[in-house]
């Protein structure tokens, strides 16, 4: 590995750039430097778990109909930031959020904002699959039911959602069976289907593909591209190729150890158009990280 950063820089960048042009590249060239019409914004976001300062001063803008990837080493606070965006951190005992997160200009941490309403608009897919101990059908139908969505045919909606998550063919004959009979990958795709079914405005994904095989991953990636025309997507991923393939913009985080306590606080290093960030990172740490991938 000691030799690889060097190796990397000499390697042709073609496949990656090829990917970008072929998939996410359509408007990459014309993409403004910052999202002009941000659906969500984080301003001076700080998160604490008890005394532990997990995330420090994060500023981000998430553009409408864009896919934003959050990348960075393990423990740098990506999941933490993501959970702040739909107030899931409210449910973590001891977690405290400072700063503001706006959604269509409205700070979702204001008084008078209903976190539940926030979550119906900002859906989430988790790192570990967490299907409900119900049938596959009921897992999908759950969201529409609890949010009181008006649905013509629940069967159709379930089918659409499952097709969307590339799971329909595998489960169509066992919709009434428990979701726990599925493999890890199938379970995660079910969770994605479940989120799609509630038709949110923004979808947060915390390493949604980390348990998926390449075929399913690429279906999900395709799906994200399709959804992008209607939805705003924010994805945490460890897979830089994935970030490069699907996202319009990428935010790179890292963790900085406090010299005295040794606590590692997460911070945002660089936030830019994906193409720029990968091809021409402005920060040394970003470059090291990206090149380290191919050690």
């Amino acid at each position: 590995m000691a030799t690889t950063p060097a190796t990397f820089s000499t390697r042709p960048k073609d496949p990656q750039e090829d990917l970008m042009t072929s998939v996410a590249g359509e408007d990459q060239g014309t993409l403004p430097e910052l999202p002009p019409e941000p659906v969500m914004e984080a301003n001076k976001l700080n998160v604490f778990y008890g005394d532990f300062h997990a995330v420090h001063d994060v500023d981000l803008r998430f553009g409408k109909n864009e896919i934003t990837a959050l990348i960075g080493p393990s423990g740098c606070g990506k999941s933490t930031v993501l959970r702040c965006l739909n107030r899931m951190n409210d449910l973590v005992a001891g977690a405290r959020v400072e700063g503001e997160v706006t959604y269509h200009g409205k700070n979702i941490y204001d008084r008078g904002v209903d976190p539940i309403a926030v979550r119906t608009h900002i859906g989430m897919v988790f790192q570990k699959p967490n299907p409900f101990p119900k049938s596959i059908f009921d897992n999908i139908a759950y969201g529409p039911r609890v949010t009181g969505m008006k649905v013509d045919s629940m069967d159709d909606l379930v089918e659409q959602a499952l097709r969307g998550a590339a799971l329909w063919d595998e489960v169509k004959d066992k919709l009434k069976q428990s979701a726990y009979g599925l493999s890890g990958g199938q379970q995660q795709r079910l969770c994605i289907a479940r989120t799609i079914a509630t038709r949110p405005d923004v979808i947060l994904m915390d390493e949604p593909c980390s348990a998926l095989d390449p075929i399913a991953t690429s279906r999900i990636e395709d799906l994200m591209m399709e959804l992008r025309s209607d939805y705003t997507i924010i994805i945490v991923t460890h897979n830089m190729q994935q970030a490069a393939r699907v996202s319009d913009r990428t935010a790179f985080f890292t963790a900085k150890a406090d010299e005295t306590t040794g606590n590692r606080t997460g911070l945002l290093v660089e936030f830019d158009r994906t193409k720029t960030l990968f091809s021409n990172p402005s920060d040394r740490r970003t470059e090291d990280y990206i090149s380290g991938r191919f050690g």
Binding site: Y103, H104, G105, K106, I108, D110, G112, V113, D114, P115, I116, A117, V118, T120, H121, E159, Q160, A161, R163, G164, I196, A197, R199, P200, D201, D222, L223, E226, L227, D230, Y231
Partner: protein, 303 residues
């Protein structure tokens, strides 16, 4: 792909800031109110009961109540020393017998037994059923057990403890099983994959994780045992003693027996003393529960 047809919602800022939380819809509020009521109903009854009893026993909250032996000659200063000490002895020996046995049985059923075997299912069924057997029957059974192991004299510490241990064994087993069952499978697999035996896994991983649940079950069981009179009467425990036990073969009495006996007496002084003694019994149960809370908080985990 068909998803294209699933369009996003039209969104404006006002949607999330309607000022009305979906946790505050009328339905949710009614639901919450019902839950509150459920919880405080029990608490209210408990308070009513304690206050009612305390008022009836108000004249007898004195030292003699716990330091003196019972007296009919001086009913206004009768005490429950023998019953209190007896109940403490009984609890100690009951726990000593029932807790290890109960945990052992529960661990076997959850961690070792093949649940599809008919005999293990039989044990399972049998356990739930035992919980429903009237306590007095356990008294009869304890008498038989005492005869079987060769004790002529039944009204002693050992006999009472056997009756109570038999009585609470099913409760302890059932609750321990639930506690053990809720320990995630991941933990067991991780341990077994390191080459731990089933017993090592059980002893070092499952059991410590299940301690809060086991403590709850044990305390529930002991709280029940400490208030039981009927099986002890059948076992021949004394209603009146003027000395304290010195060993497992000593004659013994128990607080609830004394209470039960006195509540049906004609003299108002004795009934007043019984009411005060009920409060003493409740304090003892409170002590047990405090112990349970301590254990539960010390070991509670979430995963």
């Amino acid at each position: 792909m068909s998803v294209a047809s699933t369009t996003a919602r039209e969104v404006t800022a006002s949607v999330v800031a309607t000022g009305r939380s979906r946790d505050r819809t009328p339905r949710s509020l009614i639901f919450l109110a019902l839950l509150w009521f459920s919880l405080f109903f029990g608490v209210m009854v408990l308070v009513a009961l304690i206050v009612d009893t305390a008022i009836q026993g108000a004249g007898r909250f004195d030292a003699a109540l716990i330091t003196d032996y019972s007296s009919r000659v001086r009913p206004e200063t009768t005490g429950f020393r023998a019953g209190i000490i007896g109940s403490l002895w009984l609890m100690a020996f009951t726990a000593l017998m029932a807790v290890p046995l109960g945990i052992a049985a529960a661990l076997y059923l959850e961690e070792f037994a093949d649940k599809d075997r008919w005999y293990n299912r039989l044990i399972e069924l049998n356990l739930q059923n035992l919980a429903a057997v009237p306590s007095i029957i356990y008294g009869l059974l304890a008498v038989a057990v005492m005869a079987l192991i060769g004790f002529q004299q039944t009204g002693i510490v050992l006999g009472g403890a056997i009756a109570l241990a038999l009585l609470i064994l099913p409760v302890i087993i059932i609750t321990t099983r639930e506690a053990v069952r809720s320990v995630p499978q991941d933990i067991r697999q991780g341990s077994l994959a390191l080459g731990a035996t089933v017993w090592q896994t059980t002893w070092r991983q499952t059991l410590p994780s299940a301690v809060p649940g086991i403590a709850t079950g044990t305390i529930l069981g002991l709280s029940r045992a400490i208030g039981e009179a009927a099986p002890l009467i059948v076992v021949g425990l004394a209603g009146s003693l003027l000395f304290s036990p010195t060993g497992v073969l000593s004659p013994i009495t128990a607080l609830p027996m004394q209470i039960y006996s006195l509540t049906s007496q004609s003299q108002a002084e004795l009934r007043e003393a019984a009411s005060a003694a009920i409060i003493v019994l409740l304090v003892m149960i409170l002590g047990l529960n405090a112990l349970a809370i301590f254990i539960r908080n010390k070991f509670q985990r979430s995963w």
